[in-house]
Point group: C2
Chain length 142, copies 2
DNA sequence: TCTTGCCTTGACGCCCACGTCAACCCCTAC
DNA sequence: GTAGGGGTTGACGTGGGCGTCAAGGCAAGA
């Protein structure tokens, strides 16, 4: 199978496959015309890469999985090096989720505080001669 | 105060301040030598920007807060446009945290599955003449 | 006077996973 | 012959927020 067909079957692009080849991740055989040639096992490798990419793995992090499959193992994660990546990724995810959750709570707190302040100021604004909110209409419509 | 002092007091760099100026976010007055000049209110604006940046806001998303402060409001989030950004960011954070959590669970599941499979294969390997794990030592040390 | 230290603008580098040309080749069908 | 639909390499663009020179100016202190 040639590069266009493999790309289509994996739901990606020829550019991506050529990029993977420059990275040494998915080298291709060549036919008489110099065209890249792939087989079903390459599709398997490619799907492994794409799945991990979808999970947010860096390209380099998919390498142990690909090497593992290429070595004849039934799954990309049958090798210890892949498990190391799994564990490192889990730790990264936990750290990230923790940070994002903390930020989320902070922002939520700021929002409700600002909303309360606004409601207070809105009550003030109802008083004749009170302060008027002049920022958005004057500043944001330039 | 000049650019170096402002940068130091805000814990950032002169390059960053010049960048903000090109973005129209933090314009500076100029003295006789053409040097940028800032005052305390600029430090206030800069701290607002940096705080939001630390929360993961894009530079453009900090603009309403800065405009709000510059319009004379007590807080950067005293204006409706800022609240809109808060709410949008909250929604983004929730979506992202949800995705990451789902990925985390998937990866954790894959890891424990792979570990169970490995333990099973390890038992096989204890049998004389059993299959040997040949991938990492052969592939990863090139 | 010379060094030191701060400032200026301009421009390229970085990261990562590709997208998007450009210019060309090869085979097939009409 | 020629149009179309594959393929090839090479090179530059993208985005975001700066880092890092390069080449020069201006003022104060030893």
């Amino acid at each position: 199978m040639r590069i266009g067909e493999l790309a289509a079957r994996a739901g990606t692009t020829t550019r991506t496959l050529r990029y993977y080849e420059t990275r040494g991740l998915l080298p291709a055989r060549r036919d008489g015309n110099g065209h890249r040639t792939y087989d079903e096992s390459d599709l398997r490798l490619l799907r492994q890469i794409r799945t991990l990419q979808d999970f947010g793995f860096d390209l380099e992090e998919t390498r142990p999985f690909v090497e593992c499959l290429r070595a004849g193992h039934p799954e990309g994660d049958s090798c210890p090096a892949s498990l190391v990546v799994y564990r490192r990724k889990l730790a990264e995810l936990d750290a990230l989720i923790g940070q994002l959750t903390a930020v989320r709570e902070t922002v939520a707190g700021q929002l409700s505080r600002a909303e309360r302040a606004r409601d207070g100021l809105a009550a003030d604004a109802l008083v004749p001669g009170g302060p008027e909110p002049a920022c958005e209409l004057g500043r944001l419509t330039r």
